[in-house]
């Protein structure tokens, strides 16, 4: 395979309910290309978080298979650690450990891998610089604002130097202004690190602003409705939202969401 990104082949997820099983995601196939910013967009109940958690190896597909950089994510003996190491995940909540400093939180993946203190500190500093948190190394998470906590969570996800960065509605809990700022920041970080990004959102604006490709999901059961290419040049500034092209893409998506939701 020329582009060993992430491949999903006929992936299905059913949840067990009393007496029957509820399909959360119908058979879904999708290729995430190396280096792209892919956004999973859909209304609640469309299985977008389920899809991302399966790509992240947090839940196991009921059927089908997933490959990460050419490696099967699940093998007969369980999760493939080598594949998991290529993934970094940012959750809806920052999920920082309140008993650790910001620096130690960011360095947690390295600590778990057994890196020594100096290497950990150096890498954590570098990442805090990247996400704009230099000077906050020794603060505790609770001393940071919501946006800063999510920046720290992004830095932590990057610490293990993953090839793929997965973000599950990372800015959903932030106020509109911080959210807009974080979108611009995420674009900058992505352009600097050139990781492959898969981001889940229910915000049409966020999707159109960030994505190279938008995968629109429809609910009950979740499945891919369509895939849309966004070709606006980068870096995109906040003003792009005023452009006619942006507006018409947003409008098109809104109308489509109105019929499928």
């Amino acid at each position: 395979m020329a582009d060993p990104g992430i491949r999903l082949h006929d992936v299905v997820k059913n949840y067990d309910a009393p007496g029957h099983s509820v399909p959360a995601l119908a058979a879904t196939s999708l290729d995430v290309r190396q280096g792209e910013m892919l956004v999973l967009l859909g209304p609640s109940g469309c299985g977008k978080t389920t899809l991302l958690r399966m790509v992240g190896g947090l839940i196991r597909p009921s059927e089908g298979w997933i490959e990460v950089a050419g490696l099967p994510l699940w093998t007969t003996s369980g999760r493939n650690q080598e594949a998991v190491r290529k993934l970094g995940i940012v959750f809806q909540e920052p999920n920082l450990f309140p008993w650790l400093t910001v620096e130690d939180n960011v360095a947690l993946p390295l600590e778990i891998q057994g890196a020594n203190r100096n290497a950990r500190t150096a890498r954590a500093r570098e990442l805090l610089n990247l996400v704009g948190l230099a000077g906050f190394e020794h603060r505790r998470p609770r001393e940071l604002s919501g946006g800063m906590r999510q920046r720290a969570a992004i830095a932590r996800a990057l610490a293990g130097d993953p090839q793929f960065l997965l973000l599950d509605e990372p800015f959903g809990a932030l106020d509109a202004m911080t959210r807009e700022q974080m979108n611009i920041e995420l674009q900058r970080i992505w352009m600097e690190t050139r990781q492959t990004v898969v981001l889940v959102t229910h915000s049409i604006h966020e999707a159109v602003f960030l994505a190279d490709r938008i995968v629109l999901l429809s609910p009950r059961p979740g499945r891919i409705d369509r895939v849309i290419d966004i070709n606006a040049p980068r870096p995109r500034a906040a003003e792009i939202e005023a452009s006619a092209e942006f507006q018409s893409t947003v409008l098109g998506l809104r109308q489509r969401l109105g019929t499928i939701a």
């Binding site: 992240g56 190896g57 947090l58 999760r79 650690q81 998991v84 190491r85 993934l87 970094g88 995940i89 959750f91 909540e93 999920n95 450990f97 309140p98 008993w99 947690l108 993946p109 600590e111 778990i112 505790r140 609770r142 932590r156 293990g160």
Partner: protein, 264 residues
């Protein structure tokens, strides 16, 4: 601003005033009612009795006995309560298996075990240590179980995503998460351990503050009884202070500490 200062400084005046008023009421009641000094001595007599005891060797010898029994019993309770609590919090089947026994160990009036402990371990410190440990064990266990179960699911996701091995999940996530709960259990447990040691001393042996209380009762020395009660109360304060210092030291990041700091 000044109003804040008022509410902060006021207890430093009102609390001693209230204590003084209570002591005065006590004193006036004893002197005016003609009640026998054997039944209720004046606070001044109690104070002198306490000073006498503090100067003597007996009080300190007995204090060490009680302290030893309390601390050793408490240490056992903490070790077993923590160990078992972590296992029970982790494995659901272990909890269902052990639950009837744990509830039984909780509802049994533990003081009823003292005669048995004396038969098994004699009148020495061992039987008191055992009672102190038995009393302190349950709050430590139940709080540890609660702590291990209360680990944030989002935090768990982080560790799963990072491929953390079991041991790292325990030391880096479960232990720090459960620590505030464990400390709460220990705070309750240490007070129970004192109760266990003192009650154990009532019923057997010739050492400890509990034994001293019984001896003073037999001698009709009511003032000394009060003095020892005050002594035990102060001991309790020391333990309480030690535990809350441990809290500030070990979990400075936790809400319980931060709230205290914001409203001292």
């Amino acid at each position: 601003m000044t109003k804040d200062n008022h509410t902060r400084l006021l207890p430093w005046i009102t609390t001693p005033l209230l204590a003084l008023a209570l002591l005065l009421t006590w004193h006036v009641y004893v002197t005016s009612s003609g009640i026998s000094g054997f039944i209720l001595p004046t606070p001044i007599k109690v104070w002198h009795s306490y000073l006498d005891e503090l100067r003597g060797a007996a009080l300190w010898r007995h204090t060490w006995s009680t302290l030893y029994e309390t601390l050793v019993g408490f240490a056992w309770a903490t070790a077993i309560g923590l160990g078992l609590g972590v296992l029970i919090g982790r494995w659901r089947w272990l909890e269902t298996t052990l639950n009837p026994f744990i509830v039984a160990s909780q509802v049994i009036p533990k003081v009823a075990l003292v005669p048995l402990f004396v038969v098994w371990f004699g009148f020495g410190p061992a039987s008191k240590v055992l009672l102190a440990a038995t009393l302190a064990f349950f709050p430590i266990l139940s709080n540890t179980v609660l702590g291990v179960k209360s680990v944030d699911l989002g935090h768990r996701d982080v560790m799963v995503a990072l491929n953390a091995p079991r041991w790292k999940v325990f030391t880096r996530l479960e232990l720090p998460s459960a620590l505030p709960y464990l400390l709460t259990g220990m705070e309750v447990g240490v007070v129970f351990a004192i109760i266990g040691a003192v009650v154990g001393e009532y019923l057997g042996g010739s050492a400890g503050l509990g034994y001293m209380l019984i001896a003073k009762m037999n001698a009709f020395d009511t003032a000394a009884l009060f003095a020892i009660i005050i002594h035990l109360t102060l001991l309790g304060f020391v333990f309480y202070w030690l535990m809350s210092s441990a809290r500030r030291l070990l979990i400075p990041w936790h809400e319980s500490v931060l709230i205290d700091r914001a409203n001292p």
